[in-house]
Amino acid sequence: MKMKIFSYPYMLWLVIFIVVPLLLVFLYAVTTTENGGLQFTVENLRRFLDPNYLDVLWVSIKLALQTTIITLILGYPIGMIIAREKPSKRNIMVLLFVIPMWMNFLLRTYAWLTLLGKNGIVNYIVTLLGFEPLDLLYNDGAVLLGMIYNFLPFMVLPIYSVIEKIDNSLIEAAEDLGANKFEVFTKVTLPLSIPGIMTGITMVFMPAVSTFVISRLLGGGQYMLIGNLIEQQFLWVGDWHFGSAISIIMMIFILIAMAITSKFDDQKEGSSGLW
C-alpha cells in the first residue's frame, strides 16, 4: 500500500494555513485598499525608509546582536562545564536549565520588575553598599537583560549537546601530542563545537530581533522595537498593509542572518575537518 496518501490531508493543511497566509501577507505588503479594491503600490515599503522607522530597525538589530554575543560569552563556558561533568551530575544541571522554562515567560520577565525596581532587591543591595539607588528599569539595559535572561538556555543547550558528543580521545590525542590546555581548546574543542554555536546564535538572534513582549514589559510603554511596530500596526493602528510590509522586511533580515550563519557553518565544517 502507498503510505504516502496519509500525507495528503496535511498537504492541504499546509497550503491553507501556512502557504496562503504568507502569500496574503506578501499581498498586503505591496497593496493598498482604495475605493474598496486592492491597488498595487510600493508606498508601504517606501514608508519604512523614514528615519524614525529605520532607527527602530537599527535598535532592534543592535539589541539582538548584543544579546547574541553576551549569551554566547556567558553561555559557552557553562555549556562546556556541564558537558565535562559526570553523567549523573550532567543530567541534573541540564534539567536545571530547562526547569525555569516551565514557568510562564511573561511572568518570569515581569518578576524582573520586582528585582530591578526603585525599591527592588538589586537597589536594596546597592544602597547597602553605600551607593545611590540606580535607575535600572525602562531603558535599553533592562530590555537587554530581559532578552539575555530569556534566551540564555537556547544558547547553552545546543553548545552543551555538541561538546558532549566530542570524542574524548581527540582531546587526549592532542594532549599526548604536546598541546597545552589553551591549544586543545582553540584547535580541537572550539572548532568542533562550531555547529552548536551556530544553532545557538540562530535560536537566540531570531526571537530576540522579533520580540515585542520583553521590550514592552521592561522597556515601558513608549519603547519601540520592530516587533512592537508590527503589533502596533496590526492591533492598534489597524494599518495591515504597512504592518505586513514591516513583517516582510523583518523576515528578509532574518533570512540574511540565517544565510550568513549557515554559510559560516559549512565553511568551517569543510575546511577544518580533522583529517
Partner: protein, 266 residues
C-alpha cells in the same frame, strides 16, 4: 584551587541569575500586599482567592482546553502526515513538503501570528475559540512531525512489509507494527505540542477573540496595572506540581532501571 573556586562561583551566579525571578515569584505569592513593594508579612490569601477569581479561572480553563485539544489533534494529524511523508519518494515533492513544514519553526512567532490573523480575517472567520485552536494546531503539527520522522527512519522498513506478507491488512500493520515502533517519537511530539501550546503568548495574542483568552494574555494585559498576586499563586502551584511529577517519573525510571539490572543478574 583558585580556578576551582572561580568555576563554582560562575556556576552559582549563572543559576542565581536563572532562578532569581522564580524565587521572587514564589515568595511574592505569600506576600500580604497587592503591590510589588516590600514584604508585608505571610499570607495564604492569594491561594484562597484563586478559587473564586473567575477571570483567572476562565483563562486557565481555556489554556488547558486549548492545550489538550491542540496537542491531541496535532499529534494525530502529525503522526499520519509523518508516516505519509516518510512513504514519499525522495524528490522534489518530498523536499517541498519538508521545507514548508519547517516554515513555522523557522519563522518568528510574530510573523506566523500576523499571517494567520490575516488569513482568518480574509476568510471572515470570527476571532474566538476556533481561530485560537486552529492557530495552535498549525504551529504544533510541524514539531510533532519533526519528532516522529527520525523514529521512522530508524525503523526497519521491512517490518510492515513482513506483517503484510503474513496476511495483515495495511491498517492492521500500521496499528500493530508501525505505530508501536514509533511510539517514543509520538509521545515526545505530543509533549512538545502540549508545552508549546500551554506556554504560547504571541500567536494567541493575535488570534484571540472576545471572552476567549489564555493565561499568558491575561498576564500581559495585567502587567500595565500590576499583576494580581493570584497569578503568582497559580504559577507556583503549576510549577510545583510539574516539579513533583518530574521527581516521580525520575524515581520510577530509576526503579525500572534497577529492577532491569537485577533481572539481568539473575
Amino acid at each position: 584551587m583558585v580556578k576551582n573556586i572561580l568555576k563554582k562561583l560562575y556556576i552559582f551566579l549563572m543559576f542565581l541569575f536563572l532562578y532569581a525571578p522564580i524565587i521572587v515569584l514564589i515568595v511574592y505569592s505569600f506576600n500580604d500586599s497587592r503591590s510589588r513593594g516590600g514584604w508585608k508579612g505571610f499570607t495564604l490569601r492569594w491561594y484562597a482567592e484563586l478559587f473564586t477569581n473567575s477571570d483567572i479561572l476562565t483563562a486557565l480553563y481555556y489554556t488547558v482546553l486549548i492545550a489538550v485539544l491542540s496537542s491531541v489533534i496535532s499529534t494525530i494529524v502529525g503522526t499520519f502526515a509523518a508516516i505519509g511523508i516518510h512513504g514519499m519518494k525522495n524528490g522534489y515533492a518530498k523536499k517541498t513538503v519538508l521545507n514548508l513544514n519547517y516554515l513555522p519553526v523557522l519563522n518568528p512567532d510574530i510573523v506566523t501570528a500576523v499571517s494567520l490573523m490575516t488569513l482568518f480575517k480574509f476568510l471572515r472567520i470570527e476571532f474566538g475559540f476556533v481561530t485560537l485552536l486552529l492557530s495552535h494546531i498549525t504551529f504544533c503539527i510541524p514539531y510533532v512531525i519533526l519528532s516522529i520522522l527520525p523514529k521512522l527512519r530508524q525503523m526497519n522498513k521491512h517490518l510492515p512489509e513482513a506483517a503484510m506478507d503474513l496476511g495483515a491488512t495495511p491498517f492492521y500493520a500500521l496499528r500493530k507494527v508501525v505505530i508501536p515502533e514509533i511510539m517514543p517519537g509520538i509521545v515526545s511530539g505530543a509533549l512538545i505540542a502540549f508545552t508549546l501550546s500551554i506556554d504560547d503568548f504571541v500567536i494567541s495574542f493575535f488570534n484571540k477573540g472576545v471572552g476567549v483568552t489564555n493565561l499568558s494574555i491575561t498576564i500581559y494585559s495585567m502587567a500595565r496595572r500590576g499583576i494580581n498576586p493570584v497569578i503568582n499563586a497559580l504559577s507556583t502551584l503549576m510549577f510545583v506540581s510539574l516539579l513533583v511529577l518530574l521527581i516521580i517519573i525520575n524515581k520510577k525510571d530509576e526503579k525500572d532501571a534497577n529492577s532491569k539490572k537485577r533481572g539481568e543478574n539473575i
